[in-house]
């Protein structure tokens, strides 16, 4: 895992006439978390979407383990988990069913693993309720359970603490801690600081508006 490294070199991206990413450079290695901050519209989400290959930068390059992420997108995607603003859950399915399908298309999932992940995020009492009956915070916790179940080295998190109570925010911090201890890489776009105890592993980057 020691060779893990996500690197952005001089990344440029426009949205219409708006030059959102202007020569962004970053480098995050195994065991490190890059905390992205900045005002609304500064490009945090755009940078995350560019880093995971959903958005195409007009200039510059993003590499994973030394190789351009576009060289083998399937292989790169198999190693990352991206959590956007909204938890990617189907309202008609239960939290457990959602995770079975969401994570199940990536890897074989054991029932014990699933139970463990749901318990870890405090979802054992409501995991079998349809997602439409859950609160925003509970949905976020279910999505975090999915994140841990993917067992991938690269986490890209967009506002991971949104809608979470104080305990939930600590949970995000501890999940990131564990991920970093395992040698994983994380980038998190946040408005408020992450409750990560491995302060030395936390790097900061601020994106600014024009």
């Amino acid at each position: 895992m020691s060779d893990l490294c996500l690197k952005g070199e001089n990344v440029h991206l426009w949205r219409g006439d708006h030059h959102v990413l202007r020569g962004v450079r970053f480098q995050v290695a195994g065991g490190e978390c890059l905390q992205l901050t900045g005002a609304n519209g500064a490009g945090k989400t755009t940078l995350l979407r560019t880093a995971c290959g959903l958005a195409y930068p007009e200039g510059g390059e993003i590499t994973w383990c030394g190789e351009n992420i576009r060289k083998d997108m399937h292989a790169f995607h198999a190693q990352l988990a991206y959590l956007g603003h909204e938890p990617p859950l189907k309202a008609e399915l239960t939290a457990r069913e959602n995770l079975c399908y969401w994570v199940g298309v990536r890897r074989d999932l054991e029932r014990e693993e699933l139970d463990g992940a749901l318990e870890r995020v405090g979802a054992d009492d409501w995991a079998d309720r349809p997602v439409r009956t859950l609160s925003a915070g509970q949905k976020r916790r279910a999505a975090l359970a999915g994140l841990t179940l993917m067992r991938v080295p690269l986490w890209l998190l967009d506002e991971p603490t949104t809608n979470l109570d104080a305990e939930g925010q600590k949970l995000v911090g501890s999940l990131i801690d564990e991920h970093l201890r395992a040698g994983g890489v994380a980038i998190a776009a946040v408005h408020h600081g992450l409750a990560v105890s491995m302060a030395s592993a936390l790097k900061r980057m601020e994106l600014t508006l024009d």
């Binding site: 290695a29 958005a55 995607h77 990617p88 399908y101 298309v105 067992r151 395992a182 592993a201 600014t208």
Partner: protein
Amino acid sequence: MTNSGAMGRRDDAPVREHEGTPIPARGDHERSAVSALSAARLMLARDLKLAFRKRSQLVQPLAFFAIVTTLFPLGVSPELTRLRPMAAGVVWAAALLSSLLALELLFRDDAQDGTLEQYALCGRSLTWLLAAKTAAHWLLTGLPLALMAPLAGLALGAPTAAVPGIVASVAVGTVALSLIGAIGAALTLGIRRSGALLSLLTLPLEIPVLIFGARATELAIDGRAYGAPLQLLAALAVLGLTLAPLAAAAAVRINLE
């Protein structure tokens, strides 16, 4: 834009030994990964389960088909001798429009709740996953329409001997309709109220299916051999199966950007 976080690898970063979620080495990843086919099967199962939890969407195309084919005799004439010559056209026009009705939702719900994005990022072939979604669409609309079409045909004066021909032509034809529709649904994914545009995009491509499908049904009703138009329908379905998932996957990726 400021960039205050350029960094390098820290020598003291702990690797591998930890109490948290284990991250497999890169080789282990491939071993524990599910195949594209298994992922597609899971997607199919998910879509079928979702459809049965939202039954109103399931019933809508069938209800539309039943209403159109029932209204026709009321509007034209209740005499079977007058209805029989137009039965094939009525069944097929209703089947095409019913299939179109459900298409708008094919990818839209998943795009709105973020699950489509996750499938695009799962490291498995999006082409296979969208093929599975299209298969689910056919199982939920095309197949029920194929089973319902003979009833409409009989009500419009078709003989009982025509039932296999009607079922076969609608079943094969709706496969082609679902596949062509998947391309349109993917292309119009980012557009609100995309129904009209979706119809404009897909209807010209669906005309050959309508022509061959109606011809096969007409021949079946007349008691003649309907193999030739049925084979042409099958050829269109195979062509769609080969190209449509690829085109839909490319369109979805563009729309997710």
